[in-house]
Subunit: 144 residues, 3 copies
């Protein structure tokens, strides 16, 4: 991973072979990021995408081993149990430019992944929502 | 809806059952937002997506009643007749992770929708473009 | 093209018939942009999308002549040989709302394209990576 800190933004280049979510999470931990958004593009392989099933309260997932263009990586960072947690959705395109997408479970950088992280000076947490059994944002409608 | 105001950004969590565009529009009205961009992810149901047909000057739309992952929600806010107007495009993924996308007409939050709105201190308006019969941005190439 | 400069952001409206990447590159050159991210939506025609093939070190591309909704345009700007270079990925949706996506090679504005560019006060360069034969970001992990 390479990055440049520019004001409150991080311009990040993930390197071939790095796992996207782990590397982003490490970066956020190292920089004490407590809330952020990010968007990125690139190319990945070994990607696992998920669909959250409200009947089983679990992600049904598929793995795409081949190299795909990462057409869109969007997400945010908030704290879970005091540690940065990265929530990301991704769109991929194969050699025929057909797309698949969903909740990003994991992906390995195939060529490069280029991400801008916009960091916020605010502590945002995720807490378990018992109804959907997921850790959702807790934002309490405050102005700060 | 919950939100946190962080500097010029709004970190927003839409709640189950809320209509995405109506809720965003209300939030923009309440906060006097006159121009902004936003991006978000989540899961929605009862989504209507459109394709603008330049021959009929109208959107041809399809409704997707099931729950889909909201892989990408991108858009902007500007004023139409003095009121905030939200223009959004969305990518959805179904249980098989197959994607559909287009102009977002409406969507209801199924699990959660997490959005960052980046607000601008500038009044941007949309005005009717008689050639395409849509209200397009009027930006007049000024530096402010 | 029309635009509004709002702080460090450019809110841009591309006009019918303009080529997306050329117009964005001109704007970046004119405004001496050395690093930026952007996201946008709209409708385009004559779009060429690519998939980078690591076996041939070249993009295999397809052209989509018809009008498509531009569901997502994400990318960044950095310098190549001292000049702004725009790297973008795009998702398109056809009349049936089926999506295709990939590395954006070219696209012509069909109805409108609305983009927010977030400019950074930092010089970021792309340099040739001999292993993948692409010009990749050089970010050197500095805090500035």
């Amino acid at each position: 991973m390479q990055y440049r800190h520019i004001g409150s933004r991080l311009f990040v280049k993930l390197e071939r072979g790095e796992e996207v979510l782990e590397t982003l999470t490490s970066l956020c931990r190292e920089h004490h990021i407590r809330s952020a958004s990010f968007c990125g593009i690139g190319a990945v392989r070994g990607t696992e995408l998920g669909y959250y099933d409200l009947e089983t309260f679990s992600y049904s997932t598929r793995v795409f081993p081949e190299i795909f263009e990462l057409v869109s990586l969007l997400g945010n960072v908030a704290l879970v149990d005091g540690e940065p947690f990265v929530h990301a959705h991704a769109s991929l395109a194969d050699r025929e430019l057909i797309q698949v997408g969903g909740h990003l479970v994991r992906a390995t950088v195939a060529v490069t992944v280029e991400i801008f992280i916009d960091c916020c000076e605010s502590t945002v947490e995720r807490v378990l929502d018992p109804e959907v059994k997921l850790k959702l944002l807790k934002l309490d409608t405050s102005d700060s």
